[in-house]
């Protein structure tokens, strides 16, 4: 199954990226021309830049998730309700998140505009402004992503050994020191998973861009996965070869990250963490 549905399509995509093909007609072999075009394509660099922005800002989900998890890791009556409230955004579909945030940012009547006006600023149409649009979408994406990291850390916190905390406390550790030297090292597996899913989440960010802006205004909120979709499958696209070459680049970026991570992990294992 893995071979048929994952490995083979990767090979096929790489192969298609050397062709000029509209998906229905005849394929023409054009060598690396798609990649040459990519090299000189402003839209590609916009997407790449936005992907980097996504990666950098999406990482905020990890510490934010940790903070909320620590905050929620208490025994107070009704804590389960609070936990589920915080977890809620992860349960709803990305599409719905996108719609909610589109309404939130809507010019004229959106809550965000009203909020700015209440604070004495002028309302901004976030999704219509090339300066803010990507940040606006990332903020929407962070909402469920933080919830995801939080749940990972909540599970992790369950496994933190009480003996070590007790011992550290006897040694006089508390507050930040306790967190940094005692708790976080024990959360390493949770951190690992949180970072990996966040990186992958940032790189394959597609749903929100598609729902909230369709890559607009004039392509300024595109990311690689959306650009690939646009070129290969959308109404005005159907350039399978070019789309495939974008996919190959995205795949290469993901491979770099994943390899770095595995190397890091192996090194840590050897050093006996």
């Amino acid at each position: 199954m893995f071979l048929v549905y994952v490995i083979a399509p990767i090979g096929q995509s790489i192969a298609i990226s050397f062709y000029d093909w509209d998906g229905i007609g005849a394929k023409t072999f054009i060598g690396i021309e798609n990649y040459i075009e990519l090299w000189d394509d402003e839209a590609f660099y916009t997407s790449l830049y936005n992907n980097v922005l996504w990666l950098a800002l999406y990482m905020l989900a990890v510490p934010a998730g940790l903070m909320i998890a620590i905050f929620l890791n208490q025994t107070v009556t009704g804590i389960r309700i609070y936990k589920s409230l915080f977890f809620f955004p992860f349960v709803i579909s990305q599409i719905v998140v996108g719609l909610i945030f589109s309404w939130f940012y809507a010019p004229n009547f959106g809550l965000f505009t009203k909020l700015l006006e209440f604070l004495g600023f002028e309302g901004i149409a976030v999704l219509a402004d090339e300066r803010f649009v990507t940040y606006g979408i990332i903020a929407a994406g962070l909402w469920p992503q933080i919830a995801y990291c939080m749940i990972l850390y909540l599970t992790g916190l369950n496994n933190v050994s009480p003996d070590q905390i007790e011992a550290a406390r006897l040694d006089g550790a508390k507050g930040w020191k306790m967190l940094w030297y005692v708790i976080i090292p024990q959360l390493r597996p949770a951190t690992f998973i949180a970072v990996v899913v966040t990186i992958i989440g940032a790189l394959r960010s597609f749903d929100l861009v598609s729902i909230m802006t369709s890559g607009g205004p004039y392509g300024s909120s595109r990311v690689l996965s959306y650009y690939m979709y646009e070129q290969a499958l959308s109404e005005y696209g159907f350039r399978m070869g070019y789309g495939a070459s974008i996919a190959v680049v995205l795949f290469a970026i993901m491979m770099v990250f994943i390899t770095l991570f595995i190397v890091r992990m192996l090194k840590d294992e050897r050093e006996g963490y």
């Binding site: 229905i24 809507a106 149409a125 607009g216 205004p217 959308s234 005005y236 696209g237």
Partner: protein, 396 residues
Amino acid sequence: MISSSAYAAGDLIINLDQTDPAPKKAFEDIVAGFSKENPDVNVIVNTMHKEGYKTSIRNFLTADAPDLATWYAGNRMAPFVNAGLFEDVTDVWEENGLNEQLKSAAASMTIDGKKWGVPYTYYQWGIYYRKDIFEEQGIAVPTNWNELVAASAKLKEAGITPFTIGTKALWPTGGWFDYMNLRVNGYEFHMDLTAGKVPYTDPRVKATFDKWSELVKPGYYNTNHPALDWQDAVPNLVQGKAAMYLMGNFAVDVFKNGGLKEEQIGFMQFPEITPGIPMAEDAPTDTIHIPAKAKNKEDAKKFLAYMARADVQTATNITLGQLPVNSGAERPEERILQQGFDMLSNAYALAQFYDRDAPAEMAKAGMEGFQEFMVKPDRADAILKRLEKIRTRVYK
């Protein structure tokens, strides 16, 4: 020909991209009328949402073809014709005298000297305006560019945005470019440009942008338009925050549903810019085709002939609120539609629309450029340079 066993011989399967109430009703009537005349044919209609249809048509034409499929005229059908996915229906045109009756749309249905489908409706584009606001402000309907700019200035002064638009889906920008270019440089130049024969860096294209910037720079459009769909821009007009809307005639139904009264809605032809250039109009045509892999082509051809008939087109377009293509069909009775009908009958030539006249790749990049221009008019040169780069690649 090997016939499929999945459907009985008398089945006729139609894939339809119309989910709005009026077009749906129109097609129900067509099917009912056809079934009455051909009781041996069992018509099956699959209705899909318009945007979804655009992406799935490629799949169903190659894999599981229906007997009939709705689509659009002009360059929009070219990829399917070139890939051999549409059936040549020149014989239907000849046997039913359609070359005469559908003459106005013949050019946009012809590729390689053959006809590839049948048009059943089209509609005018133009500027819809609030009659009552114009009266209040003492503005006469502009007939040339200077009057249009002056009217816009006056409206802006009164705190009313002259033009409302929503460009999230990009295509509304195409309507603006079409009209600016048709009026500044004329039909032949516009067709050459969309056919890739003229560079976008041509000074004449720049001239179009310069004229256009006379509306963009003073802020005669609503800001925020990249975040709005075309329907989202309608409330501006309904609430009187904006006074004009360049759109296709399908918008009238939305205006009325939004609460505008019949007498509040006016329609004007896009005014003259370069004096002496004959006025051409945008009039997109909706069409129906037989896929090459259809199983029941015989009945499909009967259906095409039926849909092309004058009396059928009359009835269909009354329900649609649009214009019949068949020259023998009756004129519409509705006021705005009549105005549009007169305008199109006297038009020098008809363009389909930017995204139907230009190939898909160019259309996408072009409309994105127009949107960018409408937000950042100072980038005109950079935008045109980028479009030129794409043009040289697309039309090689």
